[in-house]
Subunit: 763 residues, 2 copies
């Protein structure tokens, strides 16, 4: 844990420069707008530790899989989120000396991500080797109002001498992904051009042997210069190199004068433009930005943020760290995925880093769905489901590669375009429970929105594909006289290739049952729709039902009768059953132990049996939940960012308020405090939705019960109150929970009956 | 299976050119002498399919591990057998045209590896595009008499025209390993020089971050020219390029004349020479070869082979395919490892290819040891054991990296210098049974040779290290009230990360028991030696014994009481129990099925439970063996080259003679007939010792019983007789088995009592 970030309700503040943590700060202060994103890098040259990162949504590269020994059914490539052209760069030369905070004497420094505004601010006073002292003040945002653009205001004041200042705004496409499997560059240059105070660079992803689309991205810049607030005439001498364009602007500045350099950036991708239109459109867009001026653009951007905060802020009183934590999570969720484009999804690192690759994990369905259901229009959650429906064909291909037939669908663990693209067989073949999460999200969406039409339109087709997979993946054990599922990895990735992971067996059989129930309902309510889906999927309703029911009647669920707990997998009790408290000096075990030792130990990376009890809570009694929680939680090391939130919600349900609060703090400040020593790689975006859930589903106990919104709130001891807004079936409510009472107000929409701590109320 | 190799008792013959199989033929016709080796490549330019391969024993490169996601305890590198400087190359230009059998019209072609002589012959008649017809006749060997050298005789006869012939003998160090993890070159140039009719190139393995020694190899050539048998004066114009030296020799040749070009090659490595001496020594060596002349060198080489065949030939009468098969196996074993250098071992591909990397697998102890015990001086087998003793420190480090303490030793699955260097965790961490095979080889050696001194000198120290590992690797299962071993991979690599692999549990507990018995014996017979080892290893005899005995009293061995068979692992009976006969169209499953499907299936790659019953046959009744054989063999796909031999031996023991013969043919002609579709990568050298075992331990039933050599021979139906020689405790016997009787003669050494089909006889 690192404690250098100032606690503040609305901002993430680095007070004084911490070059040793610079990559962490860059992650924390990343900016995005759902379409493009940028780590909190400096604009000027910085020779210290830094991960320069600029990302364009939906643009990726299929990097050839790196495995020890390729085997049939392994994915061909691992799709990498692409580190794209650096558009923020501004070289700053004072006299003969390059401004570089790694070599200059930094007298004062402050970097602040203002989450209310969505603007990154930085001020610094430095003394150069030449003896010249100067102060800089920068601002930057990626516009929420115009999601293909960003702007920078870069102010310089000389403090003790006059000097010639040379500014070099540039676009640099020589960037490489740090996690490239074979150290290769993923970009080719298509074209470049410069004009007065403008430049444009078009890059294309390299040719690949996997038949994956090549993307083009046009990045343009325009810039402007002011001294003491007055726009200046200036010359810009162009420079072009391989995958690089720049302009050189020279200004004589007197001590005490303030120079302001404004740079506008544009990123357009071939996903949205015809290739031949890209450079023209990018240049025109950059020109328009300059015409509008920085102030106007910033205002429009801040207005969008004001609306977002009005709708989705969670206010916590009495606990600044918790307040900062929850806003930090909401801020990053909002700037990663806006729901505007159904082709996009929520990458595990959003626009804050390139590790993990891929855009879409089961995180979306299992952790992010509830956040978007409650905080955005239903169309946003629906788009996330439709995204998977679009990939159904690929999921069927994916299953076929593994030997499954008849339209069985296995959704990928990691994907960009529907194809599986992770490296490791332990994950791709075996961690198949994600297939169930995709089915569960359909159920969750329909339960929350009441939009049953979705089932007939898209949902059932997906459910049939997934259920067909489960049907084939179960096999009959003559020894157990039951259907078993061999060779899987559960959500707890500290096990591999186990038999009968309870969670996977549970969600698989649940999927079969849910799919049958959807068909039953449709049979009664919309026979025509059902017939059409059965025909489209060539599913034999009666034979299929009989097969599935045979499995449902005889599924194997490992269980310990003595402890009365579900067993994570067959043979779990053969392990030495220790608790996390007993290995205090050994954590995190994924950094301190060999993989061998981890695999053999009882320690659990993230909720596994408990994930199932969270999803399917109606199926279990409070006593069952308590027994399983008490058995598994003490063995859980929470070394996945997705772990604490589920435990927070279950602990809240069990009225284990301290545990719930401990887990909440761990999820909400995971990145701010760098709990897992990996924030430098980027933020844990998808787990941020889990933080939101910890408050709303945990402390406030939000559920849907018989089609009604239900709340069972309490206030953690450290807080005096908290409040949030929640949308439900067209009505927007505000909820404020204090130690004494809970105040629910209707902000818009139709009046609504809700359950408040079990009592029906009318709002 | 491919049937293009002519059946012949003493030779491997390709009659007519098969360019589509060229890489297979190159593997089959590889030459070696224990110190350097060469695939059966052409000397002249060949633009068709070819794997150019030249290898120098003990020279390797630590290639950075290629894994999807590196985890603690993964090896840093995979040691690659290095494809070294090509010393055989001779460019041949006829007039304006390069001789290239891929582009010329090949009128006739024959390539023959004469195993009796150890010489590779090739003749061809070709018509060039120019219309010139010519014949070539080449010979090549790597000298068994001088293991740092080789020689080539390259004869050309023009058939229908005079022409100028330009010969370009060269040394080419630009070669790369085809299996390089990141496509990198592994060699740097150190120096090169040319002189009249001579050249030398010194290469060094690239710098690496793993602290692995860098090797230098000096390759030198000398050459000579004859026309119609008369040595010629000639000019040799030198050429030097990056990692390349050559000479250009031009000759005017008349139709009907025979040109003979002789090229001598030398490979010296820094493992045996001071670096600064390398080029000088290599040049001097090459000069000496030329002075001796090709004929003299060839004669000396063939004499060594004559001695080897006299000692170790197996003669099979009545079955040419079987005869060719067994000689092919013996030939390659003899030229891969001579036992002369205790630093070397038996690489899985010998000098025939670079796949798999590493030099030493458990193959050496489990499969090769019996061959060397019976066919060579005891010092050869002893050297193989001492090799592991030298690596004990590294084995302890290897275990420590995984979290084991107190001198526990885990020998690597693959190694060059004692460090683990394979890519895959499923193998390196989990396939730990190899540790037991190293203990077993000590037992096997002592049983065969009677050399108990070895235990006090080296053996016990290794046994204690291995036993300490097993002790820590077992863990107590409260559920089973027994010691279990979780998370292993057995010999059947079509399973990963299973619990309680019967074979591993068995060999582990056997090791503990054997180590205790060795200490008991030493306590009685050589207390001083025991005390010294206990002190050296800091092993507490009494406490340690008590710990081990606790495990021995309560080891878990999975067992099916109904079928009365040992279970390959916990949960094995949950699988769908099919037989290989039921999946006829699906083989080999490692090419036709996804890895997912393989892992979940019951199919077995190679002997697993049966491997244990083979090693520890005295522990089990014939009835137990029969039941387990009948249960497991039908599920075994034999997709490891190491599988058929064990089954051949067990089938012979069970008097399943047809099955034994089927398995024998499969192992002996595995590469000749390319059963597994992978001979192009190189030969399965270590499994060749298994072929030898199939005859001697299988058909002839050779065992050691109470310190006596025992034979229980029979003749397979297809053969009329077979004979072999076998050494036992200083005495050399010849054994001839016919349908009627078995004739055992003493060739040298003291008279010996043996058991012949259970009867004691005196030879």
């Amino acid at each position: 844990m690192k404690n250098y970030i100032t606690h503040s309700e609305w901002s993430v503040i680095e007070e004084g420069f911490h070059p040793e943590y610079n990559e962490i700060t860059e992650s924390l202060m990343s900016l995005g707008n759902g379409r493009m994103g940028q780590r909190g890098n400096f604009e000027e040259t910085y020779s210290g530790k830094s991960l320069q990162g600029s990302y364009v949504a939906g643009v990726y590269f299929p990097d050839k899989t790196r495995v020890g020994w390729w085997k049939n059914g392994y994915p061909d490539y691992f799709a990498k989120v692409l580190n794209a052209c650096n558009w923020i760069g501004i070289g700053v030369r004072i006299g003969e000396e390059e401004l570089d905070l790694a070599t200059a004497d930094v007298e004062s420094f402050r970097r602040e991500l203002n989450m209310k505004e969505g603007v990154l601010y930085r001020t610094a006073t430095v003394r150069l080797k030449s003896g010249i002292r100067l102060s800089i003040a920068t601002e930057r945002f990626n516009s929420m109002a115009d999601d293909e653009s960003g702007a920078i205001r870069y102010a310089i004041r000389l403090l003790n001498a006059d000097a010639e200042i040379k500014l070099t705004p540039f676009l640099d496409g020589t960037i490489r992904n740090r996690d490239s499997n074979y150290g290769e560059s993923f970009w080719d240059e298509v074209s470049k051009e410069t004009a007065f105070a403008r430049g444009c660079l078009v890059l294309e992803t390299r040719a690949n042997p996997f038949g994956v689309e090549r993307f083009q991205v046009a990045t343009a810049m325009a810039y402007d210069l002011f001294v003491n607030g007055i726009r200046q005439d200036f010359n810009a001498i162009p420079e072009k190199k391989e995958k690089y364009v720049a302009g050189h602007v020279t200004v004589k500045l007197e001590a005490g004068q303030e120079l302001v350099f404004v740079k506008y950036g544009v990123n357009l991708s071939s996903a949205n433009y015809a290739r031949e239109e890209l450079p023209g459109a990018a240049n025109a867009h950059a020109d328009r930005l300059r015409e509008k001026s920085y102030g106007e653009l910033k205002h429009a951007h801040m207005s969008v943020w004001a609306g977002k905060w009005k709708r989705n802020d969670i206010i916590i009183e009495g606990d600044v760290a918790a307040q900062q934590g929850i806003r930090f999570n909401i801020f990053h969720l909002e700037q990663t995925y806006t729901g505007a484009d159904a082709r996009l999804n929520i990458g595990p690192k959003g626009f804050t880093g390139e590790k993990y690759g891929g855009s879409t994990y089961w995180d979306t369905e299992a952790y992010c769905m509830p956040f978007y259901l409650a905080t955005a229009d239903a169309s946003v959650a629906r788009n996330l489901l439709v995204y998977r429906h679009h990939h159904l064909g690929k999921a069927i291909e994916n299953a076929a590669k593994l030997g499954f037939a008849d339209g069985a669908a296995l959704y990928p663990m990691v994907t960009m375009n529907g194809e599986e693209c992770h490296n490791e067989w332990e994950i791709t073949f075996e961690e198949i429970h994600r297939n169930g999460a995709i089915a569960y999200a359909i159920f969750d969406y329909v339960r929350y929105t009441g939009d049953k039409r979705y089932l007939a339109e898209y949902g059932l087709e997906v459910l049939i594909g997934i259920s067909r997979f489960w049907k084939q993946r179960f096999s009959w054990s003559e020894a157990k006289k039951a259907y078993v599922m061999l060779g899987v990895t559960g959500p707890n990735e500290y096990e591999n290739n186990v038999n009968n992971n309870w969670y996977t067996n549970y969600i698989a059989s649940w999927t079969l049952r849910y799919t049958l129930s959807v068909m039953d309902t449709l049979e009664k309510e919309d026979r025509e729709a059902l017939d059409s889906i059965l025909e489209k999927t060539a599913f034999d309703y009666h034979a299929g039902r009989a097969d599935w029911e045979k499995i449902l009647d005889n599924t194997w669920f490992p269980y310990d009768a003595e402890r009365q707990v579900f067993l994570q997998q067959d043979g779990f009790l053969d392990k030495e059953l220790l608790t996390v408290a007993q290995i205090a000096g050994h954590r995190p075990i994924n950094q301190k132990w060999s993989w061998d030792r981890i695999l053999r130990s009882c320690f659990i990376k993230q909720a596994d049996v408990l994930q199932g009890m969270y999803f399917f809570e109606e199926d279990f009694s409070m006593e069952q939940l308590r027994r399983n929680f008490e058995f598994y939680e003490p063995m859980t090391v929470h070394e996945s960012s997705l772990s604490p939130c589920v435990h927070a919600i279950l602990a809240a349900k069990l009225n284990l308020r301290e545990k719930a609060y401990e887990m909440y703090l761990r999820t909400s400040r995971l990145d701010l405090d760098d709990y897992n020593n990996d924030t430098e790689d980027g933020l844990h975006i998808t787990s941020m939705a889990g933080t939101w859930m910890s408050v709303v589903k945990g402390f406030a106990g939000q559920r849907v019960v018989d089609g009604m919104l239900s709340l069972t709130p309490f206030v953690p001891d450290n807080w005096s109150s908290y409040s949030f807004r929640i949308g439900f079936r067209g009505t927007l409510l505000s909820v404020k929970v204090t130690g004494e009472n809970t105040e629910v107000k209707r902000i818009s929409g139709e009046p609504l009956a809700i359950l408040l701590s079990g009592q029906e109320c009318f709002v």
